[in-house]
Amino acid sequence: MFLITIASLYLNIAISIYGVIAKPNLVKKFIALTIAQDSINTVAILMGYRVWREAILQPPILLSWSPSPKDLQDFMNRAVDPLPQALVLTAIVIGLAVNIFLVSTILHLYRHFKTVDMDEISKLKRGAIVEETA
């Protein structure tokens, strides 16, 4: 069942990358890009899970403020990996900042070219270059 989770996340990544490449509308590309970012971050967190067959797992947060040495050993044996979570936190925030910049650029492109379709923008741009150099 764990393998079904990994396989469906890979399928999500493949479908959203297809959506970025093959659809000519800029807003559709933006939506598919956000789906791809989220799926890749989830795969990174999935690699930090673990299986321990004798007790229930816990997230990497210590619950008592004055632990005994046995508490620390238990914590080390039962907690999930904290390192991928710290790295994915950074990745989500940077992804959001770049997405805000992308939205600002799409609005600027729309006000200049009056359309958001990549095929028509490249035709207009080709026409403008031919005009300038003729």
């Binding site: 690699m47 210590l62 939205v103």
Partner: protein, 268 residues
């Protein structure tokens, strides 16, 4: 179903299989993994170890300790990248920043305004509580900043732009707050170096064997985490003001937003 669609579907399934077969054979380890890596065990053992205080961080939460103490430089550079992206998004509209909008509005109806005022206070309270408790429970600077950033965006839609144009929460105040928060983030790791006259480390939190400087490790009886509380607070303020600035600029009306584009079709 055209031939092109069938071909694309076959290609997607083929790519998924290419990624799946090495995973089945064990390329990212056993699935699911049975034991942690050694470095993760080391971080979990050392972060709140009151018997061996040579590497501890006085915070029972391992993720915040890794983000702001064991890997503090990564988070500093990530804050710089965030700052640069917001500056780049604002510089496209540099002629109209801080101006009042030409089109006024009246906002939504009376019921929505009254109901939203209660929810606004609740969102801000939850967000700040998440920021301040980052070293004891799941939380921290980024999480609390993203929660608080939802509130002014909806306020802009419910109360119309007049709330922001005619209030004291102007563009220059927000930029000043943001710069102060970023200065705070840069100063907190440099204070150990300044106070011990060169005998400390950058990003130092508690006492190490070669350097004898430490931020306080408890507040009355609650573990504080030393510099983690201050860094979380400054990061929360920086994230919240950055999102508020970006949304105020993106939500101008079309008449005013076309001003930076004047003259582009005649080539200035």
């Amino acid at each position: 179903m055209k031939l092109r669609d069938v071909l694309f579907i076959a290609l997607i399934i083929f790519v998924t299989f290419i990624l799946l077969i090495p995973t089945l054979l064990g390329s990212i380890g056993a699935t699911p993994p049975g034991d942690l890596r050694n470095i993760a065990k080391l971080y979990l053992y050392l972060t709140y170890n009151i018997f061996n205080k040579s590497f501890w961080t006085a915070s029972p939460e391992a993720v915040t300790a890794i983000v702001w103490d064991y890997r503090g430089l990564d988070t500093l550079y990530e804050t710089i990248v965030f700052y640069t992206a917001i500056i780049a998004a604002l510089m496209l509209y540099s002629e109209i920043l801080g101006q009042r909008d030409v089109v006024g509005g009246i906002g939504l109806s009376f019921i929505v305004k009254r109901g939203f005022s209660i929810a606004l206070l609740a969102i801000i309270a939850v967000g700040f509580s998440t920021v301040l408790h980052g070293m004891l429970t799941p939380g921290g600077g980024f999480q609390g900043g993203a929660i608080v950033a939802v509130a002014p965006v909806i306020a802009l839609i419910v109360f119309s732009r007049k709330l922001f144009d005619y209030s004291k929460l102007s563009y220059r105040l927000l930029v000043a707050l943001r710069s102060l928060a970023l200065t705070g983030i840069v100063l907190v790791p440099l204070i150990p170096l300044a106070l011990t006259l060169g005998n400390g480390f950058i990003f130092q939190n508690q006492v190490k064997t070669l350097a004898r400087f430490s931020y306080p490790s408890t507040i009355i009886d609650v573990p504080m985490g030393g510099s983690l509380l201050l860094l979380n607070l400054f990061e929360g303020i920086a994230v919240f003001t950055a999102f508020m600035l970006a949304f105020i600029v993106l939500l101008y009306s079309e008449d005013l937003s076309k001003k930076p584009l004047e003259g582009e079709d005649i080539g200035y």
